[in-house]
Amino acid sequence: MGKLTIGCFSSLIGSMSLDFAVKLAGAAIEKGHKVDFWVSGNGTMLSIKAQRPFKDYSFLEKPVKELVAKGMQITACEACAEARGYHKEETMEGFKRHSMDWYLASTFDADRVLHIGGE
């Protein structure tokens, strides 16, 4: 089994790139692969807890928590989050915060890297 590192820089709501990335991560874990997930830029919006679920807006807290429970590591860029006013105490449980080197380090033993840019 392999390791997939996904980086996604798009907003939680808008492009649906994070919806794609979370579904892909789920499918990879389902098949026994290891997944590291990095969000940076506007993608750090994914890390905020207590988002209100509305059917009109992407809402990924539930699948993210399920994947973390299955072993997915997920980390947000700390500076990108702070600059947007997303502080540590508002971060979803299981979501780590590190500087950008975490993402690069994750690629070291990754078999595949899928980097999804932002808007």
Partner: protein, 137 residues
Amino acid sequence: MATVKLGFIVQRPPYKSENPKLALTHAIASQSVEMYLNDGDLVTADLAFVGDGVLNCLKNQKAMDKYGLTSTESHIKSALMLDLSVMVCKEDLERFGLSEDDVVLDAEEFGADMVTKVVPYSEIAKMMEDSNHLLFF
């Protein structure tokens, strides 16, 4: 002891999108990656600007004066200071009527030895071939 090579390819123009800046800041983060790795292991980042992305490399960007924001030019200089390889596609510069004189070539004022390389696309294609993973911005 192993080295993993990442190829960062910037294809978008600056400012309208955060991607070019994030390409530079993430590539620069390769300098501090060892703390996560075993001794001797490395992750390196090579940067290439292609297509509309070459517009990131224009000199005299006044983003700080005008909008209080670090310019993409400054980020490129930081990358050079940290000895990253920075390539700019020659054909794309020519397509826009730009020459080497128009682009950020060095960061001499900060004591950087590294310079921007204006190269034919074929050399960027080779970098992509040699990289273990690709990241498009």
